[in-house]
């Protein structure tokens, strides 16, 4: 039995069961029916297994999966927020290279164990960011000729 509260498993398996049932519902109601023959087969199994998992979670019989501890959640939250803002907004709005530079620098600064009070640390972080961006520009813009979005900036 996992040590985390049963509620985490109930929420997670409940969400998956909801997705499974929704997919099964769509598969059996959408037209043309011929296009949904295979999805019906898959979604039926999906829904049954998902409901089974949900029932086991409700009964407290979930055996695998440690869930997410509060400490891990707190530690990952800033990084996850930066990642999501970077991917879903900044990369397109600011331009790939600008957004990547900012996101890289913030992530390194957030999770680098070196003390924030030393000037040397910040110089090192800036140097690492600049080095990485140079490599990325060389690889993708020069070598692979990938034209990335350059909206507001670069």
């Amino acid at each position: 039995m996992t040590s985390l509260p049963r509620s985490q498993h109930i929420i997670a398996s409940g969400l998956i069961a909801a997705v499974g049932v929704t997919i099964a519902y769509i598969s059996y109601t959408q037209e043309p029916a011929e296009a949904y023959v295979f999805p019906r087969l898959i979604s039926s199994v999906f829904a049954v297994l998902a409901i089974w998992t949900f029932v086991k979670a409700v009964l407290g019989r979930t055996k695998v999966g440690n869930g997410i501890s509060g400490d891990a959640m707190l530690k990952m939250a800033p990084g996850l927020v930066v990642t999501l803002v970077y991917v879903f907004w900044a990369a397109k709005a600011l331009g790939f290279y600008t957004a990547t530079t900012i996101a890289f620098f913030i992530l390194v600064s957030l999770y680098d164990p070196a003390p924030h009070t030393q000037l040397k640390t910040w110089v090192k972080r800036i140097a690492i960011t600049a080095g990485f961006m140079l490599v990325m520009y060389g690889l993708f813009a020069q070598l692979l000729n990938v034209f990335t979005p350059r909206e507001t900036l670069f």
Binding site: A35, P39, F46, V64, A91
Partner: protein
Amino acid sequence: MDFLFYMGDVFTPINFGLLLLGTIGGLILGATPGLSPTMAVALLIPFTFQLEPQQGLILLGAAYTSTVAGGAVSAILLKIPGAPANIATTLDGHTMATKGEGAKALQLSFLASAVGGLFGVFLLIFLTPVLAQWALAFGPSHLFWLAILGVTVIGTLDSSSVVKGLLAGCIGLWLATIGFDDIMGAQRFIFHPSVSGGINVIPALIGLFAIPQVITMFTKGRSSDDAEIISVKRHPIRLAFVEVLRRKTALFIGTITGTIIGLIPGVGGQIAGLVAYDQSKKFSRESEKFGTGHSEGVIAAESANNAMVGPSLVPLLTLSIPGSPTAAVLLGGLLIHGIFPGPDLFMNYPQVAWTFIDSMLIGQILMCIFGLYIAGLAARVARVPHAVMAAVVLGLAVFGSYSVQNSMGDVYVMASLGVGMYFLERFGFSAAPLVLGLILGPIAEANFIQGSMIANATVGMGSYFFTGWLNWLLILIVLASVSYSIWMEVAQRRYTTKDDAVAKEEAMS
């Protein structure tokens, strides 16, 4: 002996250069904890777009081979396995290093890896064409069952819970149906414009394997891995050769175990290394020395985890069924060049297939040579702070996903699947069956529809899909793998419960 005919192609300047690049890069990446071989190969795929198919595959194959071997460096010098396949190596390898035999342990690991790897690739060379000929007789119903077999075997054997493994496979199969239906042209499950053309396999693979690792690195916060690199003293390579030859039982057991395990879909290098280690210990005359820095432990574990590389590609190249997550990623590398592996791969694209296999053969030797020289450098790279590593992997994942089709939609799909996979993993789901479902979904659906059409016009669905010895054999394997996994799960649960009770009792007393 077709493989000899195409051997010369490996030594063209570009091909050999890529082989060297993949080998050296793979050794360094493999030594980095958190960068698994699958993830390393997934992140490399975007760099193969502009290469010829065989050149791209040479790079990916070399990276696959050497990341598995490179993981031994951090296992020996830092006591941190570079990949799950190197867990068994830490048991004796690191103890040898602490006793001042680090160089010897590294030499033994690379020599054993090369022997195991060469044997595995030779098996791939001789087994693949035979199986490919046999697979030509497969009809739509067999290919449908084969695809289902691929998902269920990995779903049940690779997961800690059979139900969750199968559920992950179903999620993958469903994701594969998103987009336009091939027969009617109808739109299915298009809930966002990013997925209107279906889910592209490459961004999905990058997201599913790279992003959970990035988030896992975030969860470590600002802590640092204080693992100390153990300095290595010089050790004559000649003596390492003699030692490997002297420990031929461990080498034999490791190589054979790795080869057999490699052929079974879903059973990874971690199992190969641990089983080989355990078996070598049982058969050794010096079994009491295992765990105290014994060379046989390193030889058995490393020969096994590299011996499985070649055989793990046999189902992929013959039946288009990837036997492991890394093989699934390699399939992605083939698909972007419009090459679909399967029985006719060796007839339609012999140069691509044989040059790739030959490069793996040469790659094993290069991996051994370079591994011995750059182990020190690789160990230093392994100490790169996880903050930097997370940011680097995230940047590569975003740029790599975008470059597949120059589409932001692919980046959104990559990130969404990656974040979703992290949370699924925390609740006991595994990425491997989901990936297999995503890749095998189109094969399963196309053959299911084709089979249904034939069945409706002839003998009917029941007779077409459920009769004939080959259908029966495949269904039997599906059922056997599910039953075996359920049995193992129940047995393990009983054992754990008993173990827990004993531990509790001991603690109380």
